[in-house]
């Protein structure tokens, strides 16, 4: 229940930002986001994990619509991306949770720590990405995307080495 509410809250915060962004299509974007939120709630109630990516996609699409007419790179996109990930992770946790399985307390602590680490890393990467995009805006999105991919791949390699 806590994880489900956290997921809804994270997605709700993203939608609130979309609605408050003041773009030409901000209301349409917020509407798409609200639809995504409804889909997420439906998925949580009916325990359908396949609704999670669709709800995230709808909120992301809403954000794209809300950015219509803005030429400056939005610094808050880093936080929105992390909120979307947080919403997806908490929703997955909520749907996966089975009250019949008695989990050790250490498992919950480990999962919170893992989620916290993932969120922190994602936030860091996003800030670095947007800073790089702001500095080298002329280089284009392709370069930014390649940069992201490289950063993510580097993190993955480090994690793999640590795990081994």
């Amino acid at each position: 229940m806590i994880t489900a509410l956290g997921s809804v809250a994270a997605l709700g915060a993203s939608i609130a930002y979309i609605a408050a962004s003041g773009g030409q299509l901000a209301r349409v974007g917020a509407g798409a986001g609200a639809f995504g939120l409804g889909l997420l709630v439906l998925g949580l109630v009916l325990r359908w994990p396949t609704t999670i990516p669709w709800s995230i996609l709808l909120v992301g699409g809403g954000y794209l619509l809300a950015r219509e007419g803005h030429s400056v790179v939005d610094g808050w996109a880093a936080a929105i991306g992390v909120l979307l990930l947080l919403a997806a992770e908490l929703a997955s946790w909520s749907i996966e949770h089975d009250a019949r399985i008695e989990a050790e307390a250490s498992l919950v602590r480990r999962r919170i720590a893992t989620l916290g680490g993932l969120i922190a890393a994602a936030l860091l990467i996003n800030f670095m990405l947007l800073a790089a995009a702001g500095v080298a805006a002329s280089s284009g999105v392709l370069l930014a995307a390649v940069g992201v991919a490289a950063a993510v791949a580097a993190v993955a390699v480090v994690l793999r080495l640590l795990h081994a």
């Binding site: 996609l57 996109a77 929105i80 979307l84 993932l118 992201v148 993190v155 793999r160």
Partner: protein
């Protein structure tokens, strides 16, 4: 181990691909920022995912138990690789429950760690129960991949029915030729005084009744009843049962059969078993503790199997039904085939007793309407059926769960005494 991807993996991969593509199409770096966390989760999850090397097995403290006993079980799990989350589940058959311990359980294993999970299982119902399978499901730290395996061992727990204590059992009309505890109606070598008769050549001197001989002026000897054993066939009707919750007529019949078998084997009688139902089982009469174990083991496999095949008593092997054997049938009298077989046994001259394991307590009477009328008709027809059996010379007693078996046996005994007097 079977590996499969969770919906989360496909979802995150799809979101990452869609986000990066949209970022390129719309030339918006913000979309890359929205996508990057999912890409990171995907990469980190796959990087951290290690196929687990698990060994799971299940042990039982004992392979045999009595009903309502507790049996210790142990799930041992070892892993040579770290497992972030391992879900373990020992599937339990009907009649076995967890009284203490965690099942299913989720735990974390370090590399090379061995864990033993103790469970206290309650044996609620008699029968041969096969525990398991034991499922183990491991996940990577971010829940993108799942590995599943099943423990190869499936230990068997044989739960024997709890027996009542009987002060005395039914005495058969006829005895057999071997020594036992039953005083025979015939005359011969024994302890129990029967009669006196004139002396004949060959009679031992110790049997001369000197007082009677002095009174009559010639030698008279004592005659006695020999102590013989009997043949008892326990007939369990497994064509149909009435069940409500965890209790049913078959449970009562099996418990009573085990109780009777124990009592008769203790008297040095030969005891046999016929489970007459969808699956026919029989055990040729025998004596001793080994036979008792055979009977109880055979009872554990008794179950209701739906069958439309019309069976008569002819299907039972001849050796299973020796002449002069006493047949004690435990039946809910729900199936016409078993009723027909019982009447057939009586017609063939067997000393038959029917303990009607009543299905009435397991079928509550409907409150009103046609159903309640049908219920009343059904109970009346049961009464008529019992009367029909009694008319054929069969001792019948209705047994309900709240009545001790001894009381039912006493009712049967009274009927048999009455019936014998009536025939005289």
């Amino acid at each position: 181990m079977t590996r499969w991807a969770t919906p989360k993996l496909a979802g995150y991969a799809g979101l990452s691909a869609a986000g990066l593509l949209a970022a390129l199409v719309f030339a918006r770096p913000e979309l890359v920022a929205l996508t990057a966390p999912f890409l990171l989760a995907l990469a980190a999850g796959l990087a951290l995912a290690t196929p687990p090397q698990l060994r799971v097995h299940v042990e039982l403290d004992q392979a045999r138990a009595l009903e309502d006993d507790e049996v210790g079980a142990r799930i041992v799990v070892e892993s040579t690789t770290p497992v972030d989350r391992l879900d373990l589940y020992l599937r339990l058959p009907e009649g076995i429950e967890v009284r203490d311990g965690k099942n299913p359980v989720a735990l974390h294993l370090k590399a090379g760690e061995r864990r033993e999970l103790e469970l206290q299982l309650g044996a609620n119902r008699w029968g041969g129960h096969v525990l398991g399978p034991t499922y183990a499901r491991a996940r990577d730290p971010l829940g993108l991949l799942v590995w599943e395996t099943v423990a190869p061992e499936r230990p068997e727990l044989r739960v024997y029915p709890r027996e009542d204590v009987l002060r005395r059992v039914l005495q058969p009309r006829e005895t057999q030729v071997f020594s036992g505890n039953e005083v025979s109606r015939h005359k011969g070598e024994g302890i129990e005084f029967a009669d006196i008769r004139p002396w004949f050549a060959g009679d031992p001197l110790k049997r001369v009744n000197w007082r009677a001989s002095a009174r009559r002026g010639e030698l008279w000897v004592n005659e006695s009843h020999p102590e013989r054993n009997t043949d008892v066939i326990l007939f369990v009707d497994s064509f149909a049962e009435a069940r409500s919750g965890n209790e049913g007529t078959l449970d009562l019949a099996v418990r009573a059969t085990a109780t009777l078998a124990n009592a008769y084997v203790g008297r040095r009688d030969r005891v046999g078993l016929i489970a007459f139902g969808g699956i026919l089982r029989w055990l040729v009469p025998g004596m001793g503790t080994v036979q008792l174990y055979r009977i109880v083991d055979a009872l554990l496999d008794t179950q209701i199997v739906l069958s439309y095949y019309w069976k008569e008593i002819d299907v039972i092997p001849r050796r299973t039904l020796p002449p002069n054997a006493m047949v004690i049938a435990l039946s809910p009298l729900l199936d016409g085939r078993s009723v027909g077989a019982l009447l057939d046994l009586r017609a063939r001259g067997y000393d038959l007793t029917v303990i009607d394991v009543s299905p009435v307590p397991f079928t509550p009477r409907p409150a009103a309407g046609l159903d309640s009328v049908a219920y009343d008709i059904w109970t009346l027809r049961r009464d008529a059926l019992r009367h029909r059996l009694q008319s054929a010379g069969v001792a019948v007693a209705e047994w309900r769960d709240d009545t001790p078996l001894q009381a039912v046996l006493e009712e049967v005994r009274e009927f048999r005494r009455y019936a014998r007097h009536a025939h005289v």
